[in-house]
Amino acid sequence: MSSADDMVVIQDLKKHFTGIEALDGVSLTVKKGQVIVILGPSGSGKSTLLRCVNQLEEKTSGEIWIDGEKLTHNSKQIDKIRSEIGMVFQHFNLYPHLTVLENITLAQKIVKKISKEKALENAMAQLKRVGIPEKANNYPAQLSGGQQQRVAIARALAMNPKLMLFDEPTSALDPEMIKEVLEVMLDLAKAGITMIVVTHEMGFAKAAADEVVFMDKGQIVEKASPVVFFTNPTHERTKLFLSQILNH
């Protein structure tokens, strides 16, 4: 089902929560190196779709392949695949009892069994990449929201992931901090990292996405290149969504 240049293949994915059909038959293919931006109203299933990819949410039915490997219920396999997928959360979820450096090195050491020196070296490299190496020995509470989210991105990158998932990474930030996080994400997109991004930042979608996916009521309504999506959408629901967010 999954060819060699596919990073993620999702086939007829369904997810029921009690009383709600969060995902109602979603199929999506993400090629290696692609940046996919998922848009849609809240409650449309965007986050659930993202969380099913690294199995933070257990799917009800359907199949998912990551880099050719089919996801199963085997907890060893789940842990292994998760260690190869970086995830960035809306609320950063840094470990508050650890320093920035410890946040970035912990999983390298205990999951990937990398030596302390290598992990530290790697952590510093990632901190430079996100532009805040001077904060290495601070605690998360001493950082601004934008800095915390950049540390979270560095923490994910330090695991050398095949795929990065972003779950509304700028939604909890003050407006003036959104830019610094989006700039880091744009750099990653340019560097050819495969990314799936759930966001409300249309500017990022236009600038970085290879494809924009629009979801509503647990289904993919429209999938198109950003140029087509923003200038000439085919679906009525998409037009309505775009008119509401662009006309103010």
Partner: protein, 293 residues
């Protein structure tokens, strides 16, 4: 808010009108109750060292201090282990452990502590010992004579001090379990998700991410329970364990000096609990400082 009252404000100049107001506020905020307790303790200690009957009572009763302290310490360490395991069981997805932990907590919480101590010491422990012996005899019969012989040779007479420790730790294990459970549940779901998303197993996430934060949050509550346990250790005197309460009772019964015996006893407990709560306040302050980093 606490920082506001604790902040070191530079006192105004003496004899200025502000100085009177400053002094008034300072006197109002002082912990008078604590000074009262300290005064009572000092008075009692002076009495103990100047008044011969009190001195005699004190010298007799202090022989039980080591039993009270070791019983409390050992029982608390076991209760911590039991409480942590049970607390983890309460939030576990495993149906068996979840129900077993809940059963244990609910059973203990529904029975008075004094009754529990009698029950564990005179019903529970002999029951378990007899069960193990019967199991050992059965093992020997079916040919596993190594473990079988060892089990069937267990002595019936478990010392009362051991029974007291088991009874106290079983009881407090249930209380501490609820503290640990609440502490773990106070850590946001995002922490577990972040750890799992990096490929950590459930237990790795617990050990490196959740528990360090949870335990820090519940340290004050654990300290409180340690003080409670020190006081409740007086209940084991019903098992004739020679802690300070039992010895004070003996002394009072023998000499009819009830005042001397029980005033000395009360002040001994008070001294220990106040020292412990000072220690706790000190630890809490250090934690707060760490959190302000």
């Amino acid at each position: 808010m606490a920082q506001l009252t604790n902040a070191k404000v530079k006192p105004p100049r003496r004899n200025s009108p502000e100085y009177r107001e400053y002094l008034r506020l300072k006197l109002r905020a002082a912990p008078w109750w604590l000074y009262a307790i300290i005064a009572i303790a000092i008075l009692t200690f002076i009495t103990i060292f100047t008044n011969i009957p009190f001195q005699k009572a004190f010298l007799f009763i202090k022989a039980g201090l080591s039993v009270t302290i070791t019983t409390t310490l050992i029982a608390f360490i076991f209760a911590l282990v039991l409480g942590l395991l049970t607390g983890l069981g309460r939030i576990s997805d495993n149906t068996f452990f979840k129900n077993l932990s809940t059963l244990y907590v609910e059973l203990i919480r529904g029975i008075p502590m004094l009754v529990l101590i009698f029950f564990i010491a005179f019903v529970g422990i002999p029951g378990v010992v007899n069960g193990l012996k019967a199991f050992g005899i059965w093992l020997t019969e079916i040919g596993v004579s190594g473990i079988g012989g060892w089990l069937s040779a267990i002595k019936n007479e478990v010392p009362m001090n051991t029974r007291a420790v088991i009874a106290l730790s079983t009881t407090y294990g249930a209380f501490l379990a609820e503290i640990f459970r609440a502490g773990i549940q106070s850590i946001g779901r995002g922490q577990m998700e972040a750890a799992r998303s990096q490929g950590m197993s459930y237990w790795q996430a617990m050990r490196y991410i959740i528990l360090p934060q949870a335990i820090r949050n519940v340290l004050p509550a654990l300290g409180n329970d340690f003080i409670s346990m020190l006081k409740d250790s007086s209940l084991v005197s019903v098992l004739a364990v020679r802690d300070i309460t039992q010895i004070a009772k003996l002394y009072a019964g023998r000499t009819f000096q009830y005042q001397e015996a029980y005033i000395t006893l009360a002040v001994l407990y008070l001294t220990m609990t106040i020292l412990l709560s000072f220690l706790m306040k000190f630890i809490e302050k250090r934690i707060q400082k760490n959190e302000q980093r």
